[in-house]
Every structure is written in structure tokens, then in C-alpha cells.
């Protein structure tokens, strides 16, 4: 039931003043207008007949009265639906659940507790304050409530659940106090604290409207990261999960977000992130948006990462499946890793975490260099021996950086018909080896292996050995990475190791695949040092002064001695989250008849601001009204000022749309473009030349370019231009990195640049370049230019539209260079991205506005013939760029031959 209460009711006496005000305003006439009027001379001598003064208009009067009434109401502090709090007497216990579920609205809780403490202090009640996540005191240390304020202010929510059982133990023998319990609303364990507190005295349970939600540890679900959100049943809630990871520059960025809804009576929902493998592997944590608590953060460790493993076998796979070496590896690794297969160079492009070479002998120099570089950057190379490895003699004569040890020629055969010895078994793994602790099955036998050359450090490099001490698996650090060699094959030819489960576990231990088998297997038997600790609010902080924890303790729920966070033991890292994989959240059990008071849901609403706003608005209107009545509202200055202010707001901002217009131009029509060199003469010639070429194209072919445009390679977008004509002058500035990138992208995506040094290579000789030639070299030093050769006979440029034998411009003579044809690329249909010449084509093509050629070419009729051939070359160039290499098809050859024969 809503009720209106005034907190300072004596202010309402001000309303008595209203009738007085009415009378006053009515009685006093408004201030007179001042008018300049020459007719005053005629008015002088006239007398006012009607002495009653003009009154303030009624509406103005009412406005003023309302404004004052509103102000009086506002100052009387009206409050809607006030809260009634009755204070009690006697000893008081204030208990706070200080766990992770209290963290989201921690500030509200602390404020409420502070208020309660102050209230208790005012009433003089002996108080005890305790937080269930901190160590509980002995007995009931009653103190003045104010003393507990400092304790309260230093309190922070912790990342473990409140220990209610400890509270029950503590309060078991005490009695006779009132309790205020600020709870997080969850029944964390079986302890019925509420019922017990109810027996001690009056109980007030105070909660908040926040519904605590939590994240279970992350899982990999078919290669995708999935997270489960749990919560106690309540109203439906929309949830958003965000995955964070490290960006390449080290800062933490959010990789992806997904949303879902937790329906009203459901307790959990699983959401899956759809991210590529690289991102999934880099995720460090997933958070629930809207809840800043430790329970809403799920830390990621290797268990949620999937490694990328590359399997490289011999190039030709012969024989049935079960004998193929890669089959066993595939089966072993498929469930827990992302596999890629292929040849070595392809696989290296995929940037895998691990490369497994199965029976690969000697590699080519280029491949081995690439592989070595990859290993040194931190990659793990696992090699399996085999007949080819043994036959190729890798690592026998000298140390191979891609093998951990030097191998002995010949290998060893154990058992079999021709040998004395019996197949050997494995010996237990040494302590230093990553395989330490794995049980060795008795049925693993080794028949044949390659043998390592004895060396002083062989024992250090051995990870697994046979009964007689011969190394079976050796490893060496190389740079940042490792090379591991299994001295047997990856199939069952030389040993039964791949047939056993030990094989899978060994591969796992080599940290090839993720730890998908529960944490217990990893945690047991090791002491874990905390790397980073999660605090109650879900923030990762550094762990100082936190002692190492044993693996067994970590397997139990988190507590003050085993706080959630990232733990490290040797090489292994593990993330400990607040909740376990099978946890559930349930709402708090409360005794019958009691209820949880919800904080912050008071319907109490102060109406003071509203009344003040109303009063202010009315006062403003009153000012305007008074001005109007006395005729001063709409005088010249004011109206002009108002008009100006309004107009200023309406001025639209100008927009520059030059770039868009240019892009639209290039997209709608074919446009030939030249590069602006900065030299106006050259630019004019280029423009005129391309104009002449465009005219010729328009007349002779179906390509219809519009007026050519000049582009600035530093700033303009090149992607829509088919061809770029670049005249070289000796003083062109070097290209910036951005321009180089842009040009490279242009060349890679099908653009063609025609470089024209315009000097007919006069003055160049052996090794001597013309100035323009030097400028060309300088400009193109960072561009992706393929190997070049002069246009060979039969190149498509000689027959793209016209049949040509040479490619003159204003000059004729020097070669025109295009991409060498022996380069095997299917990129852009083999169309050369670069044409380099010195024949100054633009001058030959140039026409003035009247259509007359601008520059002389040669002399007389021969010259005009040369100009015509130059034009034909231009047409061929554009045709070549626009249509590709189809003219190189053999189907045209008969016609070509026929024409040549004539």
C-alpha cells in the first residue's frame, strides 16, 4: 500500500503563505512598461480616469503560486512508501557470508552492515560481527558496535564458500542474541545455520536481489570450448559469457562472447564457443558478464587446449592400413588433438605445436633448415625410427641437429629366428623423465630398434630405456624446442609399444595432447606452487606468501589453504577453479515462517527531486511570463539572439565524399590510371597518353574506359584499377611501408603495373643504369617482383589483340621485361603483374583535347607507323590485363600459324 509521508512536516507551514502571496501579488500592480512616445506632449495634461491599477494576469499569478507550493512541498521532503524499521534490544550478532557469491553486490552488503552497526551503536547494543569465510572467534566477544566498523571496512569477499558448519560449531553453546544474517542466498552445504540461529533469538535474514551464478570448469567439446553456467532456480536470466586471452602484444583482450538464457526453474546451461583452434588454445579465462565474483570466472589450462599435431610420414604410403605407421599415431592422437597431415613444407605453413615424423630419413637441405628453425622457435619434434631412417644414414656420420643422439649404423634386432636374444621389455622410467610414474605393462616387447652411439651425455638424454639400459626414447633441447626420437617404429613392426595403452600415455606425457583425463591423475603426488590467485571478485592477482599445496589437497574443494587460481609444478600447469565439475547451486533453506529481506528493493522513494524539478520549471515559466507581460520578451535583441542560437544548432556538418566518389567511379567503369609522380609535365603527359589509349580502346575494342585518373600510391585505394601506368622520374620519393604493402596486395590480387623509365635506356651499358633506371630500382626494391625476362616469342602480349613483334613507344629498341615464363604460378592466371619498359609509351599515345597527337614519334610515315604499333601495344596490354591468358590456348594456334604463313 503506497503512502506518502513528509519527513520535515513543519515546512508545510509555508503553504500558509500562499494566500498572503495571492493577495500581495494581486494588490501590487505589475511594473510599468517604459515607452518612448513623442505624443507625450499631447498626453500631458490628461488625467487617468480609471484609477484602478492594472492587475497581474491571473495565469501568471497561478503559475507563481504553484511554483511556490511545489518548492514548499519539495523542502518538506516527501517520501513514498517509507520503510518502517523497528529497533530491538539486547545483544546482537551480525553474520556475513563472505564467500564468492557475496562479491557481486559486496558494496551494498557492506553499506547495509555499516548501517546496522551504526544503528546498534546508537542503541548501545553489544555486538559481535563475524564473516563465515574468515577464522571465527572463540566464544562471543561482545563489543561496542563501532569497534567492528574497522573490521568491516577491511573485509573483502573470499573466493571459497562460507563455512556454515564451522559457524554451527561456534555458536552451538551460545544463546540469547538477535541475529542479522547477510546471506548470499545459497545453500552451500548441508549445514542448517538458519534453523540453529532461529533458536537463539530473533533472526533477520537479509539477502540481495542478485541471483548468484557460477561457471563450472571449461571443457573441450569436439574441439570447441564449452562452459556450463549453474545457478539456483529463480527467474529466467540472460547470460553472456566472454572468453579472454592474450593478444599478440601481450595485453588481455576478449576473443569471443556468446549469450544464452538460463530458464526460470533450470539450474544449468551449457554454452559452446565457436572459435578457431588458434584462439581456443590461447584462451586464458572465461567470465560471466554481470557477476564480478570468483565463481563467475573459469580459468583455462592445458585441459582446455587442443594442440595442433602434424603427422608427416614417408611420401608414398604403400600397403594396408594396419601396417601404416601413421595409423597408430592417428588413432592415439585423434581424440585429443587437432591433426594435420601432409608433406613437410605444407605442414610447416600450418604452424603446428608438434610435428611427428614417422620413418622419415634424410630431409632436403631447405626442408631441414625450415624444420630446424621451427624447432628452435619452440616446437616439439618427435621422430620415429624405421627402415628408411636406418637406411638413409641420418645422424650416423655426424651429429644431426634434428636427431637427439648420434645413431649407430645397423640397428639391433632382438628375438626373431636369426638372433640369440629374446625381445626385450621396458625398464621402469627414471625420475627425471616425463614418463615417470607410468606403469610399464609386461607385454610391451621391442624386437628391433636403432641404437644410439654411446656418448657421455646419453644418460641425460634418455627418457625411456630397455631392460638392459639401451635407450628407447631419447630427447634433446634445441633452442627453445625439443627433438625426441623413439628408436622404434610407430607401427607394430619393430615393437609392440604402439599396440599398448602405454603408447598413448607416453605421447600425452610428452605434452603432445591435452590432459583430458580428470585432474586427479595429474595432480597426485606433486606439490603445486601457486602462480596466480583468484580473489573473491574474480581478479587474478600474483600469489605472494601463499604456501605450496599438495595435489591431494587441490583435489578437494577450495578453501583458505587451497585458493583457486593457476598452479604450477615443474613443467605442468593446472587451473583450479572455485567449483568442481559436478557442483550444483541450491537456494538457501530457511525455517518456515521466516523470509529473506531483499536489500535495495525498498519501495521507498523520495519525491523531493521531482517536486524541485517541477518548482524550477514553473519558476522559469514565470520569468518568461513576466517578461512577456511587461513587453520585454520579444524586443529586437532577444529575438535575434534566440534565432541565432537556434540556427547554430541546425547547421549541418559538411562531409568530404571525395574518396567515395572516386571509388564509385572506378567501380562503375573501366578506368585507366597513372601514378602521380609530382612532376607536372610528366603527369600531364601520362594523363594525355592514357586518354589517347582510352580513345583508341573505345574505338577499336569492346573495352570502354572513361577518362583516366591519377592516383597517389600513398593515399589512394588501388583495388578497383585494372592497370597502373607508372612513369619513372629520377626524383620520385621512396615509397612508405604502407604504400609498399598496398602495391604488393595490388600485384598479388591481379593488378598490373607498367613501369616506364621513358629514357630508351640511353646511356646504360654493362652494369650502368640510367638515372631513371636507378630510380626504378630504388622504388621497387621492396615490391614483390617475380623473376623477369624480356618478352619471349609467343608470349600472350604479342597476340592478345593485335599480332605484334615489337613494342615501341616514342622510342623503339630496348627490351620490354615481363614475368619470366618458367616461374610456375597459377596466380592470377599467369598474367604478368609487372611490365617494365623504357620506350615512353605515354608520349606515343598522348593526344591533346582536339584529338591530335601531342608528341612526334620518329619521322614521317615510319614514325606514324611506329605510333600505330605503340597504340596497338597499348591495346594489347589492356586486353591482356582484362582477359587474362586465354589467348595462350592452343586452340588459337592454327589461326595464328595460318596468319603467320601469309
Amino acid at each position: 500500500m503506497s503512502s506518502l509521508v513528509f519527513l520535515t512536516p513543519w515546512m508545510l507551514l509555508g503553504l500558509l503563505a500562499l494566500p498572503l502571496l495571492w493577495w500581495l501579488l494581486r494588490a501590487t500592480p505589475p511594473s510599468p512598461k517604459h515607452l518612448r512616445f513623442p505624443g507625450v506632449s499631447l498626453l500631458v495634461g490628461l488625467k487617468d480616469i480609471d484609477k484602478t491599477p492594472d492587475k497581474t494576469p491571473i495565469w501568471l499569478l497561478l503559475l507563481r503560486m504553484l511554483a511556490i507550493a511545489a518548492a514548499v512541498f519539495a523542502f518538506a521532503e516527501p517520501v513514498l512508501n517509507p520503510e518502517t524499521r523497528t529497533d530491538g534490544d539486547g545483544p546482537l550478532l551480525i553474520v556475513m557470508d563472505g564467500g564468492w557469491a557475496s562479491a557481486p553486490d559486496w558494496v551494498a552488503r557492506v553499506e547495509e552492515t555499516e548501517r546496522l552497526l551504526k544503528q546498534a551503536a546508537r542503541a548501545g547494543r553489544p555486538t559481535v560481527f563475524a564473516s563465515l569465510t574468515q577464522p571465527l572467534p572463540q566464544g562471543m566477544p561482545y563489543r561496542d558496535a563501532r569497534d567492528w566498523l574497522s573490521v568491516l571496512r577491511a573485509l573483502q569477499p573470499q573466493s571459497w564458500t562460507p563455512d556454515r558448519q564451522a559457524a554451527i560449531d561456534w555458536l552451538g553453546n551460545e544463546g540469547g542474541f538477535e541475529t542479522y544474517w547477510l546471506t548470499d542466498g545459497l545453500q552451500h552445504s548441508d549445514a542448517d545455520l538458519a534453523i540453529m540461529l532461529d533458536t537463539k533469538g530473533p533472526l533477520r535474514i537479509i539477502g540481495t536481489s542478485n541471483r548468484p551464478l557460477a561457471l563450472l570448469p571449461l571443457k573441450l567439446d569436439a574441439g570447441q570450448l564449452s562452459a556450463t553456467v549453474i545457478g539456483a532456480p529463480a527467474t529466467a536470466e540472460a547470460i553472456t559469457l566472454t572468453a579472454f586471452g592474450a593478444a599478440p602484444n601481450g595485453t588481455e583482450v576478449s576473443f569471443a562472447s556468446i549469450s544464452g538464457t538460463l530458464p526460470a526453474q533450470e539450474t544449468e546451461i551449457t554454452l559452446t564457443f565457436d572459435m578457431p583452434l588458434e584462439l581456443t588454445n590461447r584462451v586464458t579465462r572465461v567470465t560471466l558478464q554481470g557477476q564480478t565474483s570468483a565463481g563467475a570466472v573459469a580459468l583455462a589450462d592445458d585441459g582446455s587446449r587442443r594442440r595442433k599435431v602434424a603427422l608427416v610420414g614417408a611420401s608414398i604410403q604403400e600397403g594396408p592400413q594396419l601396417v601404416a605407421p601413421l595409423h597408430y599415431l592417428r588413432k592415439a592422437l585423434e581424440p585429443s588433438t587437432a591433426l594435420i597431415e601432409g608433406n613437410l613444407s605444407d605442414v610447416l605453413l600450418g604452424a603446428p605445436d608438434v610435428i611427428i615424423l614417422s620413418d622419415v630419413g634424410a630431409l632436403s637441405i631447405a626442408s631441414s633448415n625450415k624444420l630446424l628453425a621451427w624447432v628452435e622457435k619452440g616446437g616439439l619434434l618427435v621422430r620415429f625410427a624405421g627402415p628408411r631412417l636406418a637406411a638413409d644414414g641420418a645422424g650416423q656420420l655426424e651429429d644431426d641437429p634434428l636427431l637427439p643422439v648420434r645413431l649407430r649404423a645397423g640397428g639391433r634386432t632382438l628375438g626373431g629366428a636369426m638372433a640369440w636374444s629374446a625381445p626385450k621389455h621396458l625398464s621402469p622410467f627414471p625420475e627425471a623423465s616425463p614418463f615417470f610414474g607410468l606403469p610399464v605393462p609386461a607385454d610391451v616387447e621391442v624386437f628391433s630398434q636403432v641404437v644410439a652411439q654411446p656418448a657421455p651425455d646419453l644418460a641425460k638424454r634418455t627418457l625411456a630405456a630397455l631392460e638392459d639400459g639401451t635407450p628407447l626414447v631419447t630427447q634433446r633441447q634445441q633452442g627453445d624446442g625439443r627433438v625426441v626420437l623413439f628408436h622404434v617404429t610407430a607401427n607394430a613392426e619393430w615393437s609392440t609399444l604402439p599396440l599398448s595403452g602405454l603408447f598413448v600415455q607416453m605421447l600425452k606425457r610428452l605434452s603432445i595432447s591435452a590432459n583430458t583425463e580428470g585432474d586427479a591423475a595429474v595432480l597426485d603426488g606433486r606439490m603445486w606452487m601457486p602462480d596466480k590467485i583468484l580473489d573473491g571478485f574474480g581478479r587474478l592477482g600474483s600469489a605472494e606468501m601463499v604456501t605450496p599445496v599438495s595435489g591431494e589437497r587441490l583435489a578437494n574443494p577450495v578453501g583458505p589453504d587451497a585458493q583457486p587460481g593457476l598452479y604450477r609444478s615443474g613443467d605442468l600447469r593446472v587451473a583450479v577453479n572455485v567449483l568442481r565439475a559436478n557442483d550444483m547451486l541450491a537456494a538457501l533453506d530457511i525455517p518456515v515462517g521466516a523470509s529473506i529481506e531483499v536489500l535495495g528493493q525498498t519501495n521507498e522513494q523520495s519525491l523531493k527531486p521531482w517536486f524541485l524539478i517541477v518548482a524550477l520549471t514553473l519558476f522559469m515559466l514565470d520569468i518568461l511570463g513576466t517578461l512577456w507581460v511587461t513587453g520585454r520578451l520579444f524586443n529586437r535583441g532577444a529575438t535575434r539572439a534566440m534565432g541565432l542560437i537556434l540556427l547554430v544548432g541546425l547547421i549541418p556538418a559538411p562531409e568530404a565524399k571525395a574518396d567515395e566518389a572516386r571509388a564509385i567511379l572506378a567501380a562503375n567503369d573501366t578506368v585507366l590510371a597513372y601514378v602521380i609522380t609530382g612532376d607536372p609535365t610528366v603527369d600531364n603527359i601520362s594523363a594525355a597518353g592514357l586518354l589517347g589509349l582510352s580513345t583508341a580502346l573505345n574505338q577499336r575494342t569492346s573495352i570502354e574506359p572513361i577518362t583516366p585518373i591519377g592516383v597517389n600510391v600513398e593515399t589512394d585505394d588501388l583495388s578497383l584499377l585494372p592497370m597502373l601506368y607508372w612513369p619513372i622520374t629520377s626524383n620520385q620519393p621512396a615509397l612508405s611501408d604502407a604504400a609498399v604493402q598496398r602495391l604488393n596486395r595490388y600485384l598479388a590480387t591481379g593488378g598490373m603495373i607498367v613501369f616506364d623509365t621513358r629514357d630508351a635506356q640511353l646511356g646504360s651499358g654493362f652494369g650502368v643504369l640510367t638515372p631513371n633506371g636507378k630510380a626504378l630500382q630504388r622504388l621497387t626494391e621492396n615490391l614483390d617482383i617475380p623473376p623477369l625476362s624480356p618478352i619471349p616469342e609467343g608470349h600472350v602480349l604479342t597476340r592478345a589483340f593485335y599480332l605484334l613483334q615489337d613494342f615501341p613507344g616514342r622510342w623503339s629498341g630496348p627490351d620490354v621485361w615481363v614475368e619470366a615464363s618458367n616461374v610456375d604460378t597459377d596466380q592470377n592466371d599467369g598474367v604478368t603483374p609487372i611490365v617494365i619498359g623504357a620506350n615512353d609509351w605515354a608520349s606515343a599515345w598522348a593526344v591533346s583535347e582536339s584529338g591530335q597527337p601531342m608528341f612526334p614519334v620518329g619521322r614521317g610515315l615510319t614514325g606514324e607507323r611506329q605510333r600505330e604499333i605503340a597504340r596497338r601495344f597499348g591495346v594489347n596490354l589492356v586486353m591482356y590485363v582484362m582477359t587474362g591468358n586465354y589467348k595462350a590456348d592452343q586452340v588459337h594456334v592454327p589461326a595464328f600459324l595460318e596468319r603467320l604463313g601469309e
Binding site: P29, P30, S31, P32, K33, H34, L35, R36, F37, P38, G39, V40, S41, L42, L43, V44, L46, D48, I49, D50, K51, T52, P53, D54, R636
Partner: protein, 296 residues
Amino acid sequence: MNQPRPSADLRAASEGLATTFPALMVEASRLAASVAMGDHGRRRAGVGEDFWQYRQALPGDDLATVDWRRSGRSDIAYVREREWESAHTVAIWSDTAQSMDYSGKRGVSSKGERANLLAMALSVLLSKAGERIAFPATIAATPRSGERQLQRIAQAISTIEQARPEYGSVPEFGDLKAARSVFLSDFMGAEGQIFPPLKTIAERAGTGCLVHILDDTEEVFPFDGRVIFESMGGGLSFETHRAKALREEYREKLAQRCAALEEFARQAGWQYLKHYTSQSPKAALLWLHMVIGGQR
């Protein structure tokens, strides 16, 4: 050619003046161009251009003046006589008191501006016609004709005196004898400032016309409420609580003043025109042209 260069400050002063009254001159000449005037024939022989009559050549007449065409028809020599055309002297007074600065509504010219415009336009017309114009009590007080006099008149009108009276009083003409007199004012001053000087001027020979320029608000008196009226110079002030109640009385007083002026004009044989600033100045100019230039 060998004219001495005008001194710098004179030039500056003239340029300064030129900026104030070209607008006035342009407007006035535009207005005047729509009305044409001419020399007045005096209906007797004298100096002029129009043909009057032929008379016989007397001894002493220059042989060059003999009209041979007419003489050829007869035996005697005839001399062509021309009509005596002489310029009138027109005296114009444009009230420059502070009360003329009043303009009732934004965008409507003040009474003073209207009076100046009419005075200038009339001067332009008259000078085109060759009349002599005088603006008494200003620098253009001596009656002269021509372009220079127009410039002097423009200067006289545009200069704003420092100490202007609240209400204009008709100036003394002194020994200025004017064939025609034009008075452009609002005639709102005290009666003693207006009628006696007018009477003095009316007693001399010559006709005159009174152009009573009023603003619309002065005629209609649309004010209401509690108002303190002040004269334009701030000298007079009158407070009323209900301005609306004074309206009838005020209008009556104004009508009385207009009637008095009209009566005076009728008795003196002069013309009277009531002109509102909201009306077009061309109407007033045409009326003036008719009154002053039309009589032959």
C-alpha cells in the same frame, strides 16, 4: 589641368559625407525621376527658352537676334521673343527634432527619415527644373540652384546636430523671400512654437504647404496597461495606470491639432497634407509636385 589638389582633410571629410548621403541621394533621385518638372513660364517675354512672340526689331537690337525666317516673309525685321522663365525660390524645412526619430514599428522608417527623404527628393526635382532651393537655418540657407546646392542640402540633412530640441519649432526665415515654402514635420510641439512663426511666414507673399508626418501608432494609440510614456529625448514623461483609457482623449487632442493646422492652411491659402509613414512616399511626393510645381 593645373587645378590645385584639394587638401587631404577636405577630401576625407567629403568622402565621409559622401558615404552618408549617397543612399539618400539615390533614393531621392529615384523617387524624383518618377516625377518630372519643368521651368515655369511666366507668360511674358523674358529670358527663357520657349517662344513667346515676335516683335519688331528696334534700333539697338543685335542683328544676330533677328529671326530671318519670319522677317523674310515680310519687309520688317522681327526679333523672336522668349518667355520669361525664371526660377522660383522654394524654401523647405524638414523637422530634425528628436521627436522625429520615432518609428512605431520595426521596419517602418522613422518620421525624420521620411521627412528627409521627401525633402531631398523634392530638392532633386526642383533643381532639375532649375528652381532655387533654400533650407533655412542650415548651411543651404541661401537659395541657389544646381548640383552644388543639392550636395549642400544633402550635407545639411545628414548632419545630426548635437543639441536637438525635443520638438521642432518652425524656423525664422529672416529676409529669405520664397515663392513656395514646404514644411515637413510632425507638428507635435507646443502651439507657440508652431503657429506664430508660420503666421509670420504666411504674411509674406508666397504659398506654402504643410506636410504633417505621423506614425501609425501615434494616430491609433494601441497601448494598454501600466505605461510610463517618455518623450524621445527623455524630457517629458507621463505615467498612466491604464493606458487604454487615455486613448480616446489622446486621439481627440491629436485631431484637434490636425484641425488647427488645417484651418491655418486654409486661411493662409496654403495646402495641408497628413502623411503616415506607413504610406508610400511617392504619394506625398506627387502631391508636393502638384502643389509646388504645378502652378504656372
